[in-house]
């Protein structure tokens, strides 16, 4: 159903997971957005010999099928690399539930349709507890109504209006903003000459 992310939650409690952990630098030597699934969380998923680490949650049943992560505080900190979001999406992740996200990562997620519901520490801890239960069923992130549902539990989450609208409409910001070209030209016409930066080639 549009406006919803539905799937299995995986617990990923480590705090301050930075974008280099999400997408290690050696996978960034690319000019494409594609082919990043294998690199996503690579050092947690695989050992030095590229064998799966059995202790990592996404390598364990049933969480190999997870499409939602419940994460520790400050997920997505560090480098601005959008590759981290592209990689999570290519790995099949559609939602990340946390108490707060680094700003650039949050904006990158919105641009790519990755839902980042923000909940209180208490709700996050409760969802983390539930996510650890391999028997638990699918979780639903209802973006329209800003609500997470699992079993008989329903928890509201925070998401600003613009992010919610972007996720629901899946729009192209660049093309949308170009429709405002007259406003941009109007702003520019008010700039003094020395406010129009001209970089020396």
């Amino acid at each position: 159903m549009p406006g919803q992310v539905k799937g299995l939650m995986a617990p990923f409690p480590q705090p301050n997971v930075d974008t280099d952990v999400i997408m290690p630098k050696r996978f960034l030597i690319t000019i494409s957005r594609e082919g990043l699934a294998d690199g996503t969380l690579a050092d947690l998923r695989f050992d030095e010999n590229n064998n799966e680490r059995p202790e990592f949650v996404l390598n364990q049943l049933p969480w190999t099928e997870a499409s939602i992560l419940v994460v520790g505080d400050n997920f997505g900190c560090g480098s601005s690399r959008e590759h981290a979001v592209w990689g999570l999406m290519q790995l099949g992740i559609r939602g990340v539930i946390g108490t707060g996200f680094a700003g650039i990562f949050y904006d990158n997620a919105r641009k790519n349709g990755l839902a980042l519901p923000i909940v209180s520490p208490e709700v996050r801890d409760e969802l983390m507890r539930i996510a650890r239960d391999p028997e638990v069923g699918d979780c639903t992130i209802d973006i329209t109504n800003r609500q997470i549902s699992i079993g008989s539990q329903h928890h509201p989450f925070d998401m600003d209006d613009a992010t919610r609208a972007a996720l629901l409409e899946g729009r192209d910001d660049t093309l949308d903003s170009l429709k405002l070209a007259d406003s941009i030209l109007g702003y520019e016409s008010g700039l003094k000459e020395k406010m129009r930066v001209h970089v020396i080639q």
């Binding site: 601005s80 690399r81 959008e82 660049t174 109007g186 930066v197 970089v199």
Partner: protein
């Protein structure tokens, strides 16, 4: 009406409000590098769009290039570098590539070239774009989709942030630097403590800093989660923007770029300068730091299970024991470089420690000047000789290098590095690499001693 510097900057750049609560802001100047821009250019091409104002952008090669020699060290990095050059040619954008005397780390190049001034809004596909707050300019990092957006529209969709004021009052004690100030702030506010905020730094200890120190402070504000950092413009700022390649062509005003007296911030922190010691990080997050004469922390009795687990994980990764003396930590490598601490002032501070001394035999020491211009300036001052005589590898090319190890400067598994950089995350300088963050002078002190060392002891020796 009293307004914060942050709100003045946002108001001055607002193009229009958007129906969903965001606004469109105008980007005066936009910087690109070779690794976060390729997909932005291909996005433009796929949509058949032009660059709105090509002259308002600059591309610099810095993240993946080798610094041992000018030529790319492998085909993959060459592909990224050539791709950026081709994109700039196609779209008529200024390109400071390998061999260009203006090339270097983007956030070192921009101030050198006079491309930042008070009152500007500057965006770049790099999180450390907060650096420009040191000039009373609004600088912030953006993702690749936003790079495409700036290229096509010269604007960004923007949500106004809350503001936080961090006051650092008083005089610093000897041996304490701007790096220690910001590491202390990260400790106090916490990583992520400023998510959703623009942070303004104020107080006499901030005003006393030169522009290089102010850049170090604003640069690492992103480690708090701050999307922007700001320091009011003053006479030091105005002096710094003069006499540079772009100075005559750029003027957004001057001392009015400051918060009004009595402007209200949502959060305020007060830190006494005298309480700040030379700091080193011991863990895997920039807030995990202690004074150089301290101990690796022990989980206190009041620690939550979560905090204990985080501490144990960090100690395990770093190969350290709780309660051990910080100065007993032996290092394998020393690295001076990065957009945080590779300016001429940083090189001078490290050279003052190294002069007449030798790097310990167990240490591999590297220095990568922040830009070609900085390197030549240092060589003119004879600073290169001090580094080389001490046993440092003085790199002939500039770039981010071992700060994030995207070129061939990759630390080995378990390698322990005293580093003047900004992040000590797991794997930052190489898979399994162990980073200790500190000021450039402290890196030099550690390189000489072969273990983490107190720069204040060197000052005493020097005075004898």
């Amino acid at each position: 009406m009293t307004i914060t510097l942050y709100d003045k900057l946002v108001d001055a750049h607002k193009v229009c409000d958007l129906p969903d609560g965001d606004m469109l802001v105008y980007v005066d100047f936009h910087i690109m590098n070779e690794y976060t821009s390729p997909q932005a250019f291909s996005g433009l091409d796929q949509k058949g769009l032009k660059v709105w104002r090509p002259e308002a952008h600059l591309s610099v090669v810095d993240h993946v290039n080798a610094t041992r020699q000018r030529d790319p060290h492998d085909d993959a990095s060459k592909l990224l570098i050539d791709n950026l050059e081709n994109n700039c040619k196609t779209h008529n954008i200024a390109f400071y590539g390998l061999g260009d005397p203006r090339q270097g780390i983007e956030h070192v190049v921009v101030p050198e070239q006079g491309l930042v001034a008070p009152g500007m809004l500057i965006a770049c596909g790099d999180s450390h774009t907060t650096t420009y707050g040191a000039y009373g300019a609004l600088g912030f990092g953006i993702g690749t989709s936003e790079v495409e957006h700036v290229l096509a529209t010269q604007t960004l969709r923007y949500k106004r942030l809350k503001t936080m004021l961090v006051n650092v009052e008083g005089a610093l004690t000897p041996g304490v630097t701007a790096k220690d100030i910001i590491m202390k702030v990260v400790q106090v506010v916490g990583v992520g403590g400023a998510n959703g905020y623009a942070v303004e730094f104020a107080g006499s200890a901030i005003r006393d800093q030169d522009m290089s120190g102010r850049m170090t402070i604003c640069n690492m504000a992103v480690e708090l989660g701050a999307r922007a950092a700001l320091i009011a413009a003053d006479e030091k700022t105005l002096a710094m923007v003069k006499g540079r390649a772009h100075s005559d062509g750029i003027d957004f005003g001057g001392p009015e770029w400051r918060s009004d007296e009595g402007a209200v911030h949502e959060q305020i922190y007060n830190i006494a300068a005298q309480d700040i010691a030379p700091l080193v990080s011991w863990g895997t997050s920039p807030d995990q730091s202690v004074p150089i004469d301290g101990l690796v922390p022990t989980a206190g009795e009041t620690s939550t299970p979560k905090a204990k687990a985080a501490l144990e994980r960090a100690l395990d990764y770093m190969g350290l024991s709780a309660g051990q003396l910080v100065q007993d930590i032996t290092i394998d490598s020393a690295f001076i470089g990065s957009c945080t601490n590779s300016r001429i002032e940083d090189l001078r501070a490290a050279a003052a420690v190294l002069k007449g001394r030798k790097v310990a035999s167990n240490v591999n020491a590297i220095v990568v000047p922040g830009s070609t211009y900085t390197r030549l300036q240092a060589e003119n001052e004879g600073i290169d000789k001090i580094f080389i005589d001490a046993g440092f590898d003085w790199r002939p090319e500039s770039g981010c290098s071992m700060c994030l190890a995207m070129n061939d400067d990759i630390a080995m598994d378990g390698e322990r590095i005293a580093s003047s950089t900004n992040r000590n995350f797991e794997g930052r300088q190489g898979r399994g690499a162990r980073t200790h963050l500190m000021s450039p002078a402290m890196v030099a002190a550690a390189a000489v001693k072969g273990h983490l060392a107190d720069v204040r002891e060197f000052r005493n020796e020097g005075a004898e």
